[in-house]
């Protein structure tokens, strides 16, 4: 059926092209014998006219497409309801840039197509010999310089605010850990210090490779959902165990790559809780629209004897935004922003890494001796590497301060 449809479309297209060629041919009235046979393939005055008008029409098409796109898809909660404090700056700058871009686009496309239309060739007319005008060129060099300086300055201020944070500030450290194809989080626990880590320590429940010989590791808390307290600065320490990933939090205007062998970071302050966000009229509208589409799709699925889709409820999300392998398209984690009380309550219910490892060992007794030996060797092998890493981290912190 599909192939039949495709053949039908191809045939129709072929006919359309054939007819169009005929129309174009008819527009060229037969004139006196051309001086050279090549002349029939060079634009005649009729061609100039037809294509001149078409170019002007094309300007209309570009405008129409712009208006249609903005009206239909321009409703972008992602551009206006940033759920983090720095996100408001990003959105602001985005709007300024967008308005600027649209203005320039509308004007320059008009000039381009209008001039092309207006100056369409007429036999016997000569173009104006106009090769240079230093003043004009100066104007369109200086104007972009001024406008761009403004944008650069605003952008750099925002960038510095986002990327650097004060070391004296009270912050919460959270490790965001990427692997094919999922995320883990490790909270720093009561001491607010993440234990050292390396992939060589990965074993059993210790999925992010925390170094248990570091006392800071014992109160760390592993979780499979990212809970964040409202209004508190969180510093994500981002790691990857295998390939490059990118921790992308679209609602928070936050993104940083996860790089194996390196700890990257991104700091932000969540400013709207999940339940507040769900109540916003824009969100309700978007969710309704999505659920309408999903229920339609569900009906089709049920008719085919498949399972229906679950209705969508708004949640913040962390997704992978750097090609990382076959299931890259489904590497996600739920993010929940809640009041500090709720957050503390939730965190209090989680077991620390030390407890969980102890439980695991209790369950697995007795352990085969060979495996233990191998682990010991491994630990020795990485001790050097560990110091190197902590040095790196120290340098990084230095950079942040600077």
């Amino acid at each position: 059926m599909t192939s039949l449809l495709i053949i039908g479309v191809v045939v129709l297209l072929g006919i359309a092209i054939w007819q169009l060629t005929k129309i174009f041919h008819l527009t060229q009235t037969i004139k006196q014998k051309p001086a050279h046979e090549s002349e029939s393939e060079i634009a005649s005055e009729r061609d100039n006219n037809v294509n001149g008008y078409l170019l002007f029409g094309f300007l209309g098409f570009i405008y129409a497409l712009m208006i249609y796109s903005c009206a239909k898809w321009g409703y972008m909660p992602l551009m206006s309801d940033a759920a983090s404090e720095h996100g408001k700056d990003v959105d602001n700058l985005m709007w300024i840039s967008m308005i600027l871009i649209f203005t320039v686009q509308i004007i320059t496309q008009f000039l381009l197509h209008y001039f092309s239309f207006k100056a369409r060739g007429i036999k016997g007319r000569k173009a104006t010999f106009y090769a240079d005008n230093d003043k004009l060129e100066m104007i369109w060099t200086i104007i972009p310089v001024i406008v761009l300086s403004g944008l650069i300055l605003y952008g750099l201020f925002a960038w510095n605010n986002i990327m650097y944070y004060d070391q004296d500030e009270e912050v919460m450290y959270v490790e965001v850990y990427a692997k094919q194809f999922g995320w883990d989080v490790r909270y720093s626990g009561e001491d607010n210090t993440l234990g050292k880590a390396n992939v060589r320590f990965i074993q059993g429940v210790n999925a992010t490779g925390a170094d248990m010989s570091d006392p800071n590791s014992h109160d760390d808390i592993l979780a499979s959902e990212l809970h964040l307290p409202l209004g508190k600065k969180v510093v994500f320490k981002i790691r990857s165990q295998d390939v490059l990933h990118s921790a992308y939090f679209p609602h928070f205007r936050a993104q940083m790559n996860a790089v194996p062998g390196m700890v990257t970071q991104f700091a932000m302050v969540p400013s709207i809780t999940t339940s507040e966000m769900r109540q916003l009229p824009e969100t309700i509208k978007k969710v309704d629209k999505i659920n309408k589409l999903r229920s339609q799709r569900s009906q089709e699925l049920i008719a085919k004897g498949e399972e229906a889709l679950t209705p969508y409820e708004f949640d913040y999300i962390l997704l992978c935004n750097k090609i990382c392998g076959r299931s890259h398209y489904n590497m996600q984690m739920k993010v929940i922003v809640e009041s500090e009380q709720d957050f503390k309550k939730w965190l209090g219910e989680q077991k620390t890494l030390g407890q969980r490892i102890a439980e695991e060992q209790a369950g697995n007794e007795p352990q085969p001796a060979v495996e233990e030996e191998a682990v010991n060797q491994e630990e020795e092998a990485v001790s050097e590497d560990n110091t190197a890493e902590s040095e790196e981290e120290a340098i990084e912190i230095e950079n942040i301060r600077g």
């Binding site: 192939s3 495709i6 297209l13 092209i17 169009l20 174009f24 046979e37 090549s38 029939s40 393939e41 634009a43 061609d47 100039n48 497409l65 712009m66 796109s69 898809w73 972008m76 990003v90 320059t108 381009l112 001039f115 100056a119 060739g121 173009a127 010999f129 106009y130 090769a131 005008n133 060129e137 369109w140 944008l151 650069i152 952008g155 750099l156 960038w159 510095n160 986002i162 094919q180 992939v199 295998d242 390939v243 490059l244 993104q255 940083m256 790559n257 790089v259 194996p260 062998g261 390196m262 990257t264 629209k289 589409l293 992978c320 090609i323 076959r326 890259h328 398209y329 590497d385 190197a388």
Partner: protein
């Protein structure tokens, strides 16, 4: 210079006397630049067909992720698309190969290879390239690299699948994705060959432009095409070797156990031995080429557009010197902005500030170019030949795509739109579509020079109008997907209900893409049938000023039958007051008291 010129002259005369070329020396192992240009063009077109077909396949997948298509199993085989359902790693492989083929094989070799070879000797008045043999070698190494790249499509584990940027560790470790096995090895070999041919070609172009200009052809009388191709070659020589070094180091990491780019990797339940390397290093090396690469693609298109617009508007190009200066500025800046691909890579944020600054600076010469094109059209007498329409559309997409660069080049905004569909829309408009338009424009304009026949203009108009509409139809809505936060390179968006309301956009884009791809069949038909059955071309069908139109229609070795032409004026004396005709070729002597170079 004169010594080289004389030598060249003699050389040319020698060839005029004996025409004992066999089929093999004339059509296959030819050292004639015009034949090599045609070889590059046709190879580029074949690669283009493959690259575009791939894009249609993965667009169908992304628009209808749950459907199965017979065409998938026809074209990809039952291994890659069992039962007509594309495998998710094959989706990534198609995305990777589409990017690689289009950027390198079509828009670098196909575009600058074709037009540098064709136009540099003809427009500067040289008998051939400085080294015809190296030129031939360059093409055949290119052909070999195409074969190696295409052969990777038939590897059991699939072709390279780590994205055209081949970031390690994904591209380095076979356990990470099947395509990083033999497929990736072939990719790297092919790319090494590609770089070798590109360097041979570029060196040849540079030497030819510097040494073999005919008498009177000073640098300030060079047509803008030659300027653009010359600068392209310089940028290529500066940046391609860095990619070669990155590729070699990656080969070492993959096959010889080094750790240049890899460290601390835990995959499939075991810790790999790599230690101490950094993927960020690879990103720096890759983008040191990768960014200038997009200018290698767009500069020749700018050169072609300058020439075609001036000739068809029957008007001198506005601000010839400003055009050269902006070309130079763009080329220089292009080598110091690579970090804007890496704002969120984990590099020091201070570098981010520096790269934001240099990146936004590029907007200035780009704006100068756009305004100069527009002013050239103003009060012209525009001949709407298909080549001209493509050049006008080039300016249009260059503006549309370039403007969003202001958003992506700003590190703060890049945090949000990095690696989303917004960037896909941006670079496809500003370098993909624009460069393809430049290429089409060049093909329509210089077809009579290449093949001695004319292309059918009505088929050209149909090709242009439907292509122009589809290109905007595909890439304009794509910006909105990106603004909604949809990441690129997702096999399916159904894992995220928050993107469900974007399904209709994806379907619309795919329909435009399919129509846009199908209409290229009209071009292919027009191109190949016109080679044999097109109307015979006159010597100077578009009434151009440049030297290539003073050569005979029939190709001869050495280009000009007698002495080389002498140049007396710049290339843009269109509609010059005081002349009967609306063009004055470069080899017409200046009249007494007449000033050169746009003064009057």
């Amino acid at each position: 210079m004169s010594a080289a010129l004389e030598h060249n002259l003699e050389h040319g005369h020698e060839h005029d006397h004996h025409h004992n070329q066999t089929f093999i020396t004339k059509y296959i192992f030819s050292t004639d630049h015009k034949m090599i240009a045609k070889q590059f063009l046709i190879t580029g077109i074949i690669m283009g067909i493959i690259g575009v077909t791939m894009s249609v396949l993965f667009r169908m997948q992304i628009a209808w992720p749950e459907e199965s298509f017979k065409i998938f199993s026809w074209l990809l085989g039952d291994d890659f698309a069992p039962g007509g359902v594309m495998r998710n790693d094959i989706y990534l492989a198609l995305v990777t190969m589409h990017g690689t083929i289009m950027v390198f094989f079509v828009l670098t070799a196909g575009l600058s290879g074709t037009f540098s070879n064709l136009l540099i000797p003809l427009q500067i008045g040289a008998r051939d390239m400085a080294s015809g043999f190296m030129n031939m070698l360059s093409f055949w190494i290119f052909a070999l690299s195409c074969i190696v790249m295409l052969s990777s499509l038939f590897v059991e584990s699939g072709p390279a699948s780590a994205g055209w940027t081949i970031y390690p560790p994904l591209s380095a470790v076979e356990q990470a994705i099947p395509g990083s096995g033999t497929g990736m090895t072939l990719w790297l070999i092919s790319m090494a060959l590609f770089i070798a041919q590109s360097l041979m070609g570029s060196l040849n172009y540079i030497v030819t432009v510097i040494n073999l200009r005919t008498e009177g052809m000073s640098m300030t009388r060079l047509p803008l095409t030659v300027w653009a191709l010359f600068i392209t070659a310089i940028v290529g020589v500066v940046s391609f070797p860095v990619l070669l070094s990155a590729a070699l180091l990656l080969i070492m990491d993959r096959s010889f156990g080094t750790s240049f780019f890899l460290s601390d990797i835990y995959l499939a339940g075991e810790v790999l031995h790599y230690q101490g390397g950094s993927p960020v290093l690879f990103e720096h090396l890759f983008w040191f080429l990768g960014h200038p690469e997009v200018y290698l693609v767009i500069l020749p298109a700018m050169g072609i557009a300058s020439e075609v617009i001036a000739c068809n508007a029957r008007k001198p190009i506005f601000g010839y010197r400003a055009m050269i200066v902006s070309l130079l500025a763009i080329a220089f800046l292009s080598t110091i902005v690579w970090g804007h691909h890496m704002f969120v890579s984990g590099m020091n944020p201070f570098l981010g500030s520096v790269f934001t600054f240099t990146t936004l600076l590029i907007a200035i010469p780009s704006a100068v170019k756009a305004f100069n094109y527009i002013t050239t059209l103003w009060k012209g007498n525009i001949q709407m030949n298909p080549g001209m329409l493509f050049s006008i559309a080039f300016v249009s997409t260059f503006i549309s795509g370039g403007l969003t660069g202001i958003i992506l080049g700003d590190s703060t905004l890049d945090i949000q739109v990095h690696d989303t569909y917004f960037i896909i829309a941006h670079f496809h408009l500003v370098m993909g579509v624009s460069a393809i338009y430049g290429m089409f424009s060049g093909i329509y304009h210089w077809f009579p020079k290449m093949f001695g026949r004319m292309m059918n203009k009505n088929l050209g108009y149909i090709h242009f109008w439907i292509t122009a509409i589809c290109a905007y139809g595909v890439f304009f809505p794509m910006h909105f997907l990106g603004l909604a936060g949809l990441p690129r390179r997702y096999y399916s968006n159904s894992a995220f209900p928050m993107f469900d309301d974007m399904v209709d956009v994806n379907i619309l884009i795919t329909i435009f893409a399919i129509v846009g791809a199908l209409i290229q069949i009209v071009f292919l038909y027009n191109f190949f049938s016109s080679i044999f059955y097109g109307k015979r071309a006159s010597q100077n069908p578009w009434k151009g000023n440049t030297l290539e139109w003073t050569t005979p229609v029939e190709h001869i070795h050495g280009n000009w039958p007698g002495d080389l032409p002498v140049v007396y004026r710049w290339a843009y004396d269109y509609s010059k007051p005081g002349y009967e005709e609306d063009y004055v070729p470069q080899n017409v002597p200046l009249r007494e008291g007449e000033k050169d170079g746009g003064a009057h």
